[in-house]
């Protein structure tokens, strides 16, 4: 069932027509969703989709090329600020500002990729972390240009006769962008470039011997992942309505990394699942005492042995615990678990 007969079958997007039909049904479902749902759910979906875009980008770098980065919050910020500044100061229309922010972020990705060529493991982690922090710092302190710590209010998006201001209107835009970028990511992986990335990850020296230009492909990986992250950041600015250097800190970079690792490295579906899980955990764990069942137990413990004032910290405990459990018990991440379920179903009843 998984054997391909020729090259075209290998790079086809859907293995057969049934798959494509189900996929179109899913898309139709998502397009019609906001008609019924509340604003809050649509907002969460917007966040999830933005994180999916970023996770896709990170996956290209981390999962497929084997480089680690803890500095992607910097690209996220660059994307957000670029599009807002272009729209407010230079009156660039949104349809140009969005790709522009991706390109500017990609440029900085290139800058980061160059020193990263020589670094491995913890050294790369520190270098990327330092880069991320430096970007945020510069944005925070270059007041005249970036609005400093006061932050900037993002303008509503308008193109043609449309003005996108509410969550539901933004949803359609973000959905379209996410779909487009997911398909683009899948295609990149299946192409020559993707195979070069995988070769670099598996053994960079061997890759170089067969003619994969390490310099070119490593920096390209950084640039592409920065592009994705920049687009995500730009959209985030519009969803939040207000950007401020404080939003883009080290915790955000860590969350991005967690999304790809927990979701499953080296798989597009994995990044999507990881983004969904981490976003939902982050947003939903903000009200500990009201969680059914568990909440009462936590309150009881808090009154006896722990402090009542610190009760919200249980969210950190739960979050960390889930992350650890997934990595320990399913090293391939959520995608790995999904694969196992899929194969179980296919082989049932054996």
């Amino acid at each position: 069932m998984d054997m391909k007969r020729d090259y075209h079958e290998d790079i086809k997007l859907f293995p057969n027509n049934v798959g494509m039909a189900w996929f179109l049904l899913l898309v139709a479902f998502f397009v019609s969703f906001p008609i019924f749902a509340q604003d809050y759910i649509v907002y969460i979906l917007n966040l999830i989709m933005i994180h999916v875009i970023v996770a896709l980008g990170m996956n290209i770098l981390v999962g497929y090329t084997g480089q680690i980065s803890l500095g992607h919050a910097g690209f996220f910020a660059i994307g957000a600020y670029t599009s807002v500044l272009l729209m407010t100061k230079l009156h660039v229309p949104f349809l140009l500002a969005l790709p522009a922010s991706g390109l500017v972020a990609a440029f900085f990705g290139l800058l980061l990729g160059l020193p990263a060529l020589r670094l491995k493991g913890p050294y790369l982690v520190i270098a990327t972390m330092g880069f991320g922090m430096a970007i945020i710092h510069i944005i925070g302190h270059w007041e005249s240009f970036f609005g400093g710590h006061m932050g900037i209010i993002t303008p509503p998006i308008s193109f043609g006769p449309f003005i996108l201001d509410t969550d539901k209107e933004l949803y359609f835009l973000i959905l379209a962008v996410t779909l487009g970028m997911t398909i683009a990511a899948i295609n990149i992986i299946k192409s020559r470039i993707g195979r070069a990335f995988i070769a670099v990850r598996d053994s960079d020296i061997a890759a170089e011997t067969i003619g994969v230009n390490l310099t070119y492909y490593k920096t390209l990986a950084f640039a592409v992942s920065a592009f994705y992250t920049g687009i995500g950041g730009s959209l985030m600015g519009f969803v939040l309505g207000f950007i401020n250097p404080q939003n883009f800190n080290l915790f955000l970079s860590i969350a991005f990394l967690a999304m790809v690792v927990v979701g499953g490295l080296g798989s597009v579906l994995g990044s999507i699942l990881g983004a969904i899980l981490i976003t939902i955990l982050q947003q939903q764990l903000n009200n500990i005492p009201e969680i059914p069942l568990l909440g009462k137990g936590v309150i009881f413990l808090s009154e006896r042995w722990f402090s009542m004032s610190g009760i919200a910290n249980v969210s950190s405990i739960i979050f960390g615990f889930i992350m650890i459990m997934i990595v320990i018990f399913e090293p391939l991440g959520l995608w790995g678990r999904w694969l196992k379920i899929k194969y179980y179903w296919k082989r049932w009843p054996f």
Partner: protein, 394 residues
């Protein structure tokens, strides 16, 4: 192949059905006021680097419990919904949208943080949702004034004005330096100080900043010392203020220290600086913890009853202060409480001293309720009042 098809259908359908939980009860008609309950929401940094200020929301909670024990407001009990946003604006937005869409709150009270509040300001305004007492002294809440947002915390610029004038005119100290946190909180204070001194025809002898996450401030203290000031105004987080005392003591640097209301919790500061805080002056926008006014005694009793394990400190009872005008307006609006009648009632509050703040005034275009603070001093761990309420008049 048919059975394979059937299997995948069986897997997908429950998934689709489970998603229907997202659909459903839209909260269009409900506005948070029912026969016997009023729902109020607050976002609060219960975890994360700003968790110190999580006690504000818990203070409001205690206040509501106290009021409910007395029968509530106009026969309705108050229910507060606290959401932890860990001081991160994306989570604040999520929390607010959840409270508005799913829970259906009447309005919001408090809410620590400028960046967090700014992220939801426009959303709340377009939906005409009242918001009283943001727990931050940014001048952006009331300036320009908007219909549904009522600020209480005297803004940082005004506070800096009061502190600087007191130092310059009343105490006669001419050489003033400013040590501030490098974000909008510190910078607004800096702006206020510079403006004030400009009016007196002079300027600060030193301006030094520190980053929120810095743990080493020795070079900053050295710079301050080099500018040889009589007074140093601190506009920092409690942690850095405490570190400042230690570092300055090491270098035998002993100017007169003055701080903002954020650092006015004298017993706490005295304790964590191991006594070095003695003699520091501060300004405060609420009564001091040992104050014997009837309101404070009543609140302290409520604290002992409903939240005994929480420390009785400034941030905690600030949670009372931010909600007081809201309750007053609800009383004035009467039993027929709508968002519009609430806002109209808020605007009738003039020079109100029914709470632990001072002279709260709102009006048709006036959204900065309190513009006065008073000076106090830390004497051996006890906050002692130095001056009467000083009001900024512009």
């Amino acid at each position: 192949m048919v059975s394979n098809y059937l299997k995948s259908v069986l897997v997908v359908f429950p998934f689709i059905i489970s998603l229907t939980f997202f659909f459903g009860h839209s909260i269009a008609s409900e506005i948070g006021v029912s026969e016997d309950t009023i729902k109020i929401g607050q976002w609060s940094p219960q975890t994360g680097p700003a968790a110190l200020w999580g006690s504000v929301a818990r203070g409001t909670d205690c206040y509501f419990k106290m009021l409910n024990a007395e029968g509530g407001v106009q026969g309705r009990k108050l229910k507060q919904y606290i959401r932890d946003d860990a001081y991160q604006p994306p989570r604040t937005v999520g929390a607010v949208k959840e409270l508005v869409g799913r829970v259906g709150v009447f309005g919001f009270v408090g809410g620590v943080g400028t960046a967090t509040g700014m992220a939801v300001k426009r959303y709340l305004h377009t939906r005409k949702i009242p918001w009283v007492g943001p727990a931050s002294g940014s001048s952006r809440w009331a300036n320009p004034p908007t219909r549904y947002l009522f600020a209480l915390y005297p803004n940082y610029v005004d506070e800096a004005h009061i502190l600087t004038s007191y130092a310059y005119m009343t105490l006669g100290k001419k050489k003033i330096a400013f040590f501030y946190q490098n974000d909008d909180y510190g910078k607004e204070g800096l702006m206020g100080a510079i403006e004030t001194l400009k009016r007196y025809g002079t300027k600060l002898v030193g301006e030094v900043s520190v980053e929120p996450l810095d743990t080493d401030i020795s070079s900053q203290i050295l710079k301050l010392k080099m500018s040889k000031p009589d007074v140093v105004i601190l506009w920092l987080l409690p942690k850095h203020a405490a570190m400042t005392m230690g570092a300055a003591a090491k270098m035998s640097f002993k100017p007169l220290w003055m701080t903002t209301s954020t650092l006015s919790d004298a017993p706490l500061m005295y304790r964590i600086t191991k006594g070095l805080w003695d003699g520091v002056m501060f300004d405060s926008f609420a009564e001091l913890p040992d104050s014997k006014t009837p309101q404070m005694i009543k609140y302290k009793k409520a604290h002992d009853e409903h939240a005994p394990r929480e420390r009785w400190g400034m941030f905690f009872y600030a949670g009372f202060l931010f909600a007081e005008p809201m309750i007053e307006a609800m009383k004035r609006a009467g039993r027929d409480l709508t968002r519009e009648s609430f806002v109209d009632a808020m605007e009738t509050i003039k020079n109100w001293n029914g709470g632990i703040g001072h002279s709260i005034t709102f009006g048709p275009n006036q959204r900065q309720g309190q513009r006065s603070t008073f000076l106090g001093k830390c004497e051996k761990g006890v906050a002692v009042r130095l001056s009467d309420w000083l009001e900024v008049k512009k």
